[in-house]
Amino acid sequence: MSGALRAEVRRITTTRLWWSVLICIFLLSAGYAALPASVALLQSKNGVISSPFTDPGIIRSIYNGGNVLSRILAMVVGIVSIGSEYRYGTLAWSHLATPRRIRMLLGKAGALLIFGVIYGITSVAAGMLVAIPFVLANNGSLLLDQPDTLRSIVLGVCSIALWTMIGMGLGILIKNMSIALVLGVILGFLVEPVVSLVLFLKRWDELLNVMPSGATNAMLEITSPVLFAAQHPSRWWLAGMILAAWCLLPAFAGLLSAVRRDVA
């Protein structure tokens, strides 16, 4: 691990934010994974579907149940990790330690990506822990031997990691941490879902598939109407590229501005 990356990992692990968010992600993911599992159980008891816990779609939606909240929290970590440097005037320390600005920002991006992966694993692990009792009690299967399930797990982790990058880009672009946070949360919880809802109701799947949450849903092959997911999602790899573009866009714009401007 390079010095810049190691420094940034230490920077994250030496405040309480990372593990506070980790605990939140675990608990919220478990709660959100229990929702589709419970709905499936009810439907099975009512005879709507038979043996739901062998259905790959239902199993995948339990594993990635926490994704919708975890990705927003991951974005918050991205915003705060950069925003707090502006807020407390500590960015100069990073610049003095790694004066090549692109190298310094890559170190920050790398460290955030590592924690994004950890958050992703935590979210999916919480989903899997919730799935186990449902599967065991209903003669189901965890389907871990199926490539589609494994791909869904990996992409679930990756999608959450990519959202930390969206947060980092926002944090660089908007130097005021509070404004960046409010904006990020409003975009994630209000603007984006409302726009997605309109696109969903109009059945404009092409546009829905290029929204950040639409791309995430498509990447995870989620087609649930509850999440305003497109009924004809993009292929998972194309959705992954669209999401990567969403996180690269603010990150690249932030990178350009951070490289040019003087350090406050």
Binding site: A4, A7, Y88, G89, W93, A97, P99
Partner: protein, 297 residues
């Protein structure tokens, strides 16, 4: 070891010049005091030197290399700027973050924390530290990579008398090993006690760069406050010394480079000039500093 060279530095903010064609050299083995009133351009110059601010034109280098081009910046240059820290991070953890790029061990971190008298509070959040403690933590951070150069912007801010004395001896010991120190401070007594050279700037321009020895500090002077300055200057020309007109909060006065107070009094009396004040004074850096500022206006 090569010097720090500031070469024809210019920094303009939206057409306003903060630094104007500034050039000076910080020699190895010496402590160089960087002086100037508020807004003179000291901090801007130091930030350019450290690559935090880009110059409009000109260069600032350590041994011919800009800060950003140094292979191991923290092992080459140690610096103290505004001592900003994340309040929730402990002092020790702050150093651990910096140690990752400086290549310093945990053992060196603990040694440095003891050296700056923060060993007992090293694991407490920096938010609980006083200004002086933060300043000492910044000094420990500057020394993490055992650098060859020190660039310190107001390092004595918030330090108690014991801390200031420690800093003074630390800087002298550091320079004695052939390494270079550039230090800015408003505490002129401190600079007088610790610097070998001074660089004085005002409104971004160089006013003087000289060894402290050339200032002849400590020599006796006579201060005369008189009713008619011009008449007194004419009368004192008979002494054959270079009489200066200076000013303080009470107004203009004459500074005569001689210990012979009675002789000065006699000349003024015989010329019929009313004398409000006649006293000996020891030349110190503060007087020299204000004289330089006065003469630049």
């Amino acid at each position: 070891m090569p010097p720090i060279i500031v070469d024809r530095l210019v920094k303009s903010y939206n057409g306003t010049l903060a630094v104007r064609d500034l050039s000076f050299v910080v020699q190895p083995g010496r402590v160089t005091g960087f002086l100037g009133p508020n807004g003179a351009g000291k901090t801007t110059t130091m930030r350019i030197l450290l690559g935090l601010t880009s110059p409009t034109t000109g260069r600032a280098t350590f041994g011919g290399l800009a800060y950003a081009d140094l292979a191991h910046p923290q092992r080459t240059v140690g610096c103290v700027l505004d001592a900003s820290f994340h309040p929730a991070r402990s002092g020790r953890n702050h150093l651990r973050v910096l140690a990752a790029t400086a290549g310093a061990s945990d053992r060196r971190i603990d040694w440095l924390l003891d050296e700056v008298r923060l060993g007992d509070v090293a694991r407490r959040p920096v938010g609980e530290y006083s200004t002086g403690m933060r300043q000492r933590l910044a000094l420990a951070a500057a020394m993490l990579g055992k650098p060859d150069y020190l660039v310190l912007d107001e390092p004595a801010n918030g330090l108690d008398p014991e801390g200031i004395r420690w800093l003074r001896s630390f800087l002298r010991d550091f320079a004695a090993t052939g390494r270079a120190v550039l230090i800015s401070s408003h505490l002129l007594k401190e600079i007088e006690a610790s610097a070998d050279d001074i660089v004085v700037i005002n409104r971004g321009r160089l006013l003087a760069q000289m060894p402290m020895s050339e200032l002849n500090l400590g020599e006796g002077m006579t201060r005369a406050r008189v009713s008619d300055t011009q008449a007194a200057l004419r009368a004192l020309a008979a002494l054959g010394v270079d009489v200066q007109v200076a000013a303080d909060e009470r107004g203009a006065f004459l500074r005569i480079p001689t210990n012979a107070v009675s002789e000065v009094g006699s000349v003024l009396y015989s010329s019929g000039i009313v004398v409000d004040e006649l006293a000996t004074e020891r030349r110190d850096l503060e007087q020299e500093f204000f004289s330089m500022l006065e003469s630049s206006r």
